[in-house]
Subunit: 231 residues, 2 copies
């Protein structure tokens, strides 16, 4: 600790369908059916700390980037720009930044009370399973949504790939329930491949739920090829 | 530091017209002409870290609540509810919270480059002068502004007081420029008095710019009475 540093402690952990960094949506809300639980730590698990939360539809999560060594950088190459344009780290939401904090907006689905413990069900996640949550604040539309906001290259949602399930063997497809299939479709349509990768033969694996989902991409269509157990 | 704690270091300091906690707007954007500078610390003062920032109109600031001892609480009494309703801390943006982090949206006005140093001019501040900034991220409307957000008691902007300048002695009024008068009007219209205070005789002082602005409130009108030097 230096004189000006600040020490924080997580108040909760997120439970999420995203089991590795690969494939996580690059903003919240892009996979609307990515559902999980905010599981508060003691002493913040008591109802008192959450009273009134149900009057909001959306919550901000400030979370700790914890899936990589902390290596602050000044500039990054956003995947959405093809990985060849360099922007200042403060002009992006890249997780590689001076202080490893993420900011995500999630939809509040339900508040569960059980044996003196509160859990919050949320959707639209872009967080790795197990991510430490540093703070939760309500979304307040009149202050958070200025009518004239403009965001340059990030003004609109990214384009999506078509997701084709016809190549998945029938016996493997049966392992998925409808919800899992929906979330996998929404996630893979965002094209999790690294920038510059465009080899139609190459097979990738993306860990979602308890599966490592195998796929390849050709001419704007993503073909789901198989489901391996994960981890 | 415990095993799970996180140590952060400020990347910048804000320069703001708000010189004490009293009178600071309770959300960003409520005093649109509250203008200040983000002044990055070394090594984040170099242009590289900010390249591309000009393509955004609004920025998120994650900042450290540093004007009071850190006393985490589970529930608070929001001033807007008259100070008599208790809500969970996570259902408010109260600065008294488990981890002392604030979240504010500001408008980006200008990026100034001078002698290898970047400064960012922003408006709509709700931060105390000298507040440490932990992170700056661009506002991305498609993800930050869900069309169906609802915020309970905070759905709309707070009501405003009428601000009457006619009781301010002429020689004191001459000390203000037009910009200062505008910011003071916007700030005082939000009624900085503590909840439960409704004594029309009581005179309050609110430090703004280099003045301690004296006022009293009667029947929905705030009368500016005097300008004392501050600090």
């Amino acid at each position: 600790m230096t004189a000006n540093s600040l020490e924080l402690n997580p108040v909760a952990t997120i439970q999420s369908p995203f089991k590795s960094r690969f494939g996580i949506p690059r903003q919240s809300g892009l996979v609307p059916d990515a559902i999980g639980w905010i599981e508060p730590h003691s002493p913040w698990h008591r109802a008192e700390a959450w009273a009134g939360i149900e009057q909001y539809t959306h919550l901000w999560l400030i979370w700790q980037v914890h899936d990589r060594p902390h290596q602050p950088v000044s500039s990054v190459r956003p995947p959405r720009l093809g990985g060849n344009a360099r922007l200042g780290v403060f002009a992006t939401r890249s997780p590689a930044r001076p202080n490893p904090l993420g900011l995500s907006l999630v939809r509040l689905l339900a508040v569960e009370h059980q044996a003196g413990q509160v859990r919050i069900r949320v959707s639209g996640l872009d967080l790795l399973d197990g991510t430490p949550i540093i703070d939760i604040k309500p979304h307040i539309a009149f202050t958070d949504c200025p009518p004239n906001s403009h965001s340059g290259f990030a003004q609109n949602e990214p384009e999506r790939l078509r997701v084709d399930w016809s190549m998945l063997p029938h016996d493997e497809a049966l392992r998925l329930n409808d919800h899992q299939r929906l979330v996998i479709t929404q996630t893979l349509s965002l094209d999790p491949r690294p920038a510059f990768h465009d080899d139609p033969e190459r097979v990738y694996g993306c860990p979602l739920f308890e599966f490592d989902v195998q796929f390849r991409v050709e001419n704007g269509t993503l073909f789901v090829l198989g489901l391996n157990p994960f981890p």
